[in-house]
C-alpha cells in the first residue's frame, strides 16, 4: 500500500472521528430549550441590527497580496529542491524572479495596501 493510500484512509478517519466524539455528548446532554438560550451572545442584551454587514475591504486586499505570494511559493519549492544541481544560472534566474516579487511588494507598500486604515 502506498504512502498516499495511507493518507487517504487517514483523511476518512479524521472526518469520521469528530462525528463519533459528538455521539456520547448527544446521549448524555440535558435538553431544556428556551428561546432566550438561543439568542446569539451580545453582552447579555438583545441583538441590535443585522449581523451580516458588508465585509471590510481591507481584508480583501491582504487576501489578494497573499495569493500572489502563495502562488510564487509553488514555483520556489521545486527550485529549492533541485537548487544544488541546477548551478549558478538557476541561482541568478531565481534572483531575478525574487527581485520582481520584491518590487511588487514595494509597490503594494507604497500604494498603502499594507497599512490598516
Amino acid at each position: 500500500m502506498s504512502e498516499f493510500g495511507g493518507l487517504g484512509i487517514f483523511f476518512v478517519v479524521a472526518l469520521i472521528f469528530p462525528v463519533m466524539s459528538l455521539i456520547p455528548a448527544f446521549l448524555l446532554q440535558p435538553r431544556q430549550p428556551s428561546p432566550q438560550k438561543r439568542i446569539p451572545y451580545e453582552c447579555g442584551v438583545d441583538t441590535q441590527g443585522k449581523t451580516y454587514v458588508q465585509y471590510r475591504a481591507g481584508y480583501f486586499l491582504y487576501a489578494l497580496i497573499f495569493i500572489v505570494f502563495d502562488i510564487e511559493t509553488v514555483f520556489l519549492y521545486p527550485w529549492a529542491v533541485r537548487f544544488g544541481a541546477l548551478g549558478l544560472f538557476a541561482l541568478a534566474e531565481m534572483f531575478v524572479f525574487l527581485a520582481i516579487l520584491a518590487l511588487g511588494l514595494a509597490y503594494a507598500w507604497r500604494k498603502g495596501a499594507l497599512s490598516w486604515k
Partner: protein, 350 residues
C-alpha cells in the same frame, strides 16, 4: 538492544508487530491495511493525550507565571484529575444552536477543523523510520493541508449569526493568511540546504551535520513568530481574544462542539512545536538516549516555550500584527532565501 537504537525504537516495535500480523494473516495487503490503522490510532492517541495533558499543563504554567496555585482540588494536591473533570463537564453540557444561524455550515465547522490538524501529524518523523506517510512532497503537502484550517474558522464565524463570531472569522482570515506567507518562505532555506521535501531526510541531514537552528537562525525566529500567529496564541490571539471578542469564531458553540475547537487548538500547538523540532532542532537526533525520547523532550520544551510566550506577552493590535508580517517578516524571509543561496555557493567555492 543495540539494533533497536540503530533503527529507532518505534520502527523496531512496528517491524515486530508487522511480522506477527504477517504470520497471522499471511496476506501482504491485509497486513499493510491493519498497520495503517494502527498508525492512525497511534497518531489520534497522541493528539487526544496531548489535549488532556496540555489543558492541565497550560493552567499550571499560567498559575506558576502569575504566582498562583492553579488547579489543586480535583484529584489530590496537584489537581491531576482536572482535565478529566473538564471532559465530563463538556460532555454533559447542553448543545445550544444559536437562533438564525446557518445550521449546516455551523455544524460542519468544528468537524472540518479537526481534519487538517490531525492530517498534519501524518508527516511528522516521531523517530527514525517512524513516519506515517513519508511522501516525497512532504513539506509541501504538509503546508497545503495545514493551511486549510482557515476555512472552518471563517465558516464558524460567518454561520453563527453573532457579531463577535463574525469579527473573529474575518480576523482569522487576515491573520492566518498574512502569517502563512513568511512561514512558507522561512522553510525554503531548509529545503535548499537539504535538497529534499521528505521530512525524514530533513532530520537525517541534521543528524549527520548540525541542527538547522545554527545554519538558519533568522528563519528559526521567523518560523517561531509565525507559528505563534498561526496557532492563534498570544501575543497574536486577536482572532479569539477572550477579553475583547469573547472567543471570536467559536463564541456560539457549547459542549462537545466547543471541545472540538479546543482539541484542534491543542493539536495545532503540539503540531507547530513538533515542526519547530523537526525543521530546526534536529528532530529525533541526539546522543545516548533513544530517538523518541529526544524527540519528545525537544517538542515538549517548545510547547512550554509557546505557553511561556502566551502568559508573558500582551496582545498586539491588529494593525501592528499585520504590518509585522508584511513589512518585517516577509522581506526578512525573502532576504534569508537569497542569503542562503549565495551562502551555499560561497561555502562550495571555499
Amino acid at each position: 538492544m543495540n539494533a533497536m537504537l540503530e533503527n529507532g525504537v518505534v520502527a523496531t516495535v512496528a517491524g515486530v508487530l508487522r511480522e506477527y500480523l504477517m504470520l497471522l494473516f499471511g496476506n501482504q495487503f491485509l497486513t499493510d491495511l491493519i498497520m495503517k490503522f494502527i498508525g492512525i490510532g497511534a497518531v489520534i492517541g497522541v493528539i487526544l493525550s496531548a489535549a488532556i495533558v496540555f489543558t492541565y499543563a497550560e493552567r499550571k504554567v499560567c498559575a506558576f507565571i502569575q504566582v498562583r496555585l492553579g488547579p489543586n482540588r480535583v484529584g489530590g494536591r496537584f489537581g491531576l484529575l482536572q482535565p478529566f473533570a473538564d471532559m465530563l463537564k463538556l460532555m454533559s453540557k447542553e448543545d445550544i444552536i444559536p437562533a438564525g444561524c446557518d445550521r449546516v455550515v455551523w455544524a460542519l465547522s468544528p468537524m472540518l477543523l479537526f481534519v487538517p490538524s490531525a492530517l498534519a501529524y501524518a508527516f511528522f518523523p516521531f523517530d527514525k523510520g517512524a513516519v506515517f506517510a513519508d511522501v516525497n512532497v512532504g513539506v509541501f503537502l504538509l503546508i497545503a493541508i495545514s493551511s486549510q484550517a482557515v476555512l472552518p474558522f471563517l465558516m464558524g464565524g460567518y454561520a453563527s449569526n453573532s457579531k463577535y463570531a463574525m469579527i473573529g472569522g474575518m480576523r482569522t482570515v487576515a491573520q492566518m493568511l498574512s502569517y502563512e506567507a513568511p512561514m512558507v518562505f522561512s522553510l525554503l532555506g531548509i529545503v535548499m540546504l537539504t535538497g529534499s521535501l521528505k521530512m525524514s531526510d530533513i532530520v537525517a541531514v541534521q543528524a549527520d551535520n548540525v541542527w538547522f537552528v545554527l545554519l538558519q537562525p533568522v528563519a528559526f525566529v521567523i518560523f517561531v513568530i509565525t507559528a505563534t500567529a498561526e496557532t492563534n496564541r498570544t501575543p497574536f490571539d486577536l482572532v479569539e481574544g477572550e477579553s475583547e471578542i469573547v472567543a471570536g469564531a467559536f463564541a456560539e458553540y457549547s459542549g462537545m462542539r466547543w471541545a472540538l475547537f479546543f482539541l484542534a487548538e491543542y493539536a495545532n500547538l503540539l503540531a507547530v512545536s513538533i515542526l519547530t523540532t523537526t525543521f530546526f532542532l534536529g528532530g529525533w537526533s541526539g546522543p545516548v538516549l533513544p530517538g523518541v525520547v529526544w524527540f519528545w523532550l525537544k517538542a515538549l520544551f517548545m510547547v512550554f516555550f509557546f505557553m511561556w510566550l502566551r502568559w508573558t506577552l500582551p496582545r498586539t493590535r491588529i494593525d501592528q500584527m499585520l504590518s509585522l508580517s508584511w513589512k518585517v517578516l516577509l522581506p526578512l524571509a525573502l532576504a534569508n532565501v537569497m542569503c542562503t543561496g549565495i551562502g551555499v555557493y560561497i561555502y562550495r567555492w571555499l
